[in-house]
């Protein structure tokens, strides 16, 4: 087909607008589904129009459509089956695919220009170089993040002396090879540069511990966007540039939000070494005592409360206790208790993860509140039930200047009249610090598996 080039540009512009409107839809759960559909429409338009592009030979269309179909055959079942607790892994591996595609299309584009005998300027080679290196780091970095999140690799940071020097040396080498490629146009330099960038992706992510994974997943989200943008520069395609920039800024903002929620600087996170086993072992018993509560007592207090706030943490998800928590919520609401949920930004393993886990358990989103929305409500709350959360309710973050989590915004659970903490043992959380809340006068511990405890609470409420 011989359509005017402006028609393609126009279709790509409309697709860009669809993506922007799609993201805008996510400002509320009520409009979010329409937003996603809008983004799908943008993608269908962009891909459909590209298939009709004059440079796409009809003879090659079978390959293109076959590739698309193969992607659907692999992607659809995964999307339908993945457990919501496994979302961080899925997102990490999908980021790696964008990175890989950027590497492949970057090298492919250069080979195409070469074969076609096009004049290749320095700007183009730099564009290829940048697109390929961001893609390569995104690819292997995301594969490592996937390994850590899915438990295939240990989540503890891998730290060795000279690590930062090694990373710096690799980065310098990568740029050097990139410059050599830009000057000589010799593909050997491009391949060497790609290999170094692939290694750098691994060495950059291995020192980062499990606790910092929400930041890393967000950061790789951002990188995958920049990789798409760089590819857009390479192909002079504004759709890729714009879409990549949208995704890149999204990931950057999420990284910032996660860092702020942990009171850690972004640089500190990417230098790594935080949240390891040594840190956890460093916490020592201080001789203070906690009070254990019986389930029956907790049920009595919950049933007679006017206002209850539940603070869920990742421990709740690990124990698969979401549905038991929902039952408990329904029963309490049936008795006229005002039940709300308070979510800390880093409650899950990626931004917003806990909200999805609660939504999956059919807990309505309008009783689920963010830290800023609900933190002033704790003083007027009769009972706060903390399930599998630890560091995010530790008052030491506000009071103890020597604490590693000092300055981190926390949920003021300790200000509720009575606090019940459901916990397996007295083992400290990710940050490896003692939780002062457990020793407070108004706090009682309910030891046990979160699911079993919530089922017993719900069972006792039914009777």
């Amino acid at each position: 087909m011989n359509l005017h080039p402006d028609l393609f540009a126009l279709a790509y512009l409309i697709a860009s607008v669809c993506f922007i409107l799609g993201l805008k839809g996510l400002s509320s759960p009520a409009t979010a589904r329409r937003g996603n559909q809008m983004a799908i429409a943008g993608m269908v338009l962009a891909v459909g129009v590209t298939l009709a592009h004059p440079t796409v030979a009809f003879a090659n269309l079978a390959w293109v459509l076959g590739g698309l179909a193969l992607g659907a055959i692999i992607g659809v079942p995964v999307a339908l089956k993945v457990r919501m607790t496994a979302m961080p892994e899925l997102v990490a591996i999908l980021h790696s695919f964008v990175g890989l595609a950027a590497v492949l299309v970057g090298i492919g584009t250069f080979q195409l220009h070469r074969a076609h005998g096009d004049a290749i300027g320095t700007v183009q080679t730099i564009e290829v170089f940048v697109g390929v290196f961001i893609g390569a780091i995104t690819f292997t970095g995301s594969v490592v993040a996937f390994g850590k999140l899915s438990g295939r690799l240990g989540s503890a940071p891998v730290v060795f002396s000279g690590q930062h020097a090694l990373n710096l040396a690799l980065a310098v080498l990568m740029i050097g090879l990139g410059v050599a490629f830009s000057v000589t146009l010799n593909t050997a330099w491009l391949y060497a540069m790609t290999a170094v960038a692939l290694i750098l992706g691994i060495t950059l992510i291995i020192p980062i511990g499990g606790a910092d994974m929400p930041v890393i997943v967000s950061m790789l989200n951002s990188y995958s966007g920049w990789a798409a943008s760089a590819t857009g520069f390479m192909l002079n395609n504004n759709l890729l540039i714009v879409t990549g920039a949208l995704v890149g800024s999204s990931g950057a903002i999420l990284s910032y939000i996660m860092c702020r929620a942990m009171n850690r600087s972004f640089l500190h996170v990417i230098l790594g070494g935080f949240g390891g086993d040594e840190a956890a072992a460093a916490a020592t018993a201080t001789g203070k005592t906690t009070k254990a509560a019986a389930v029956e007592d907790a049920v009595f207090m919950l049933a007679n409360a006017a206002k209850v706030i539940i603070v869920p943490g990742y421990g709740m998800a690990v124990a698969q206790a979401q549905h038991a928590v929902r039952d408990l919520t329904d029963l309490l609401q049936g008795k006229g208790v005002d039940v709300r949920f308070a979510i800390h930004p880093v409650a899950g393993r990626m931004p917003g993860h806990m909200n999805v886990l609660l939504a999956e358990a059919d807990i309505p989103y309008d009783i689920v509140y963010e830290l800023d929305e609900i933190n002033n409500e704790f003083p007027g709350t009769d009972v706060c039930l903390v399930i599998g959360a630890n560091d995010v309710v530790n008052p030491a973050a506000k009071t103890d200047k020597t604490s590693p989590i000092y300055g981190m915004p926390i949920l003021d659970a300790s200000k509720a009249r009575l606090v019940y903490c459901v916990k397996r043992s007295m083992k400290p959380g990710y940050a490896g610090v003692e939780n002062e809340l457990y020793y407070a006068d108004n706090c009682m511990m309910i030891f046990g598996d979160a699911k079993a405890v919530c089922e017993r609470l719900a069972g006792a409420l039914r009777d």
Binding site: L13, V17, F19, I20, G22, L23, K24, L26, S27, S28, P29, M43, T50, L51, H53, V56, N60, W63, G67, G71, I74, G75, V76, V78, A79, M84, M87, L94, F97, V98, L100, A102, L104, V105, I107, G108, T109, L112, V123, V217, G225, A227, G232, L235, N237, L240, I241, V242, T243, A245, L246, S249, S250, I253, P351, N355, E360, D362, Y365, V368
Partner: protein, 108 residues
Amino acid sequence: MNPVLLLAAAETASVSPFMTGLFAFVLACFVGYHVIWNVTPALHTPLMSVTNAISAIILVGCILVCGNEASPLSARVLAFVGLVVASINVFGGFLVTQRMLAMYKRKG
């Protein structure tokens, strides 16, 4: 500021392709900044999965290289592999987002 009009302006500017691209890029960063801060924190996970799906727009680049007659076989094979993985992202990303968003329900 209407981002749509500004992007349209970027499309028609008749300067070097790099500058046109840079124009669109910088403006899109601002648009992204404002749009993303408006996303409710409750939807940050679907935000990540949907941005993941749309970053697979790189698919367009893969199609242009894979489908191009002038592409040597090696380039076509590389782009084909890129096309498959990006397509996994498109289908998987949008579908899992839709699945998650369907779970968000109001009271009653």
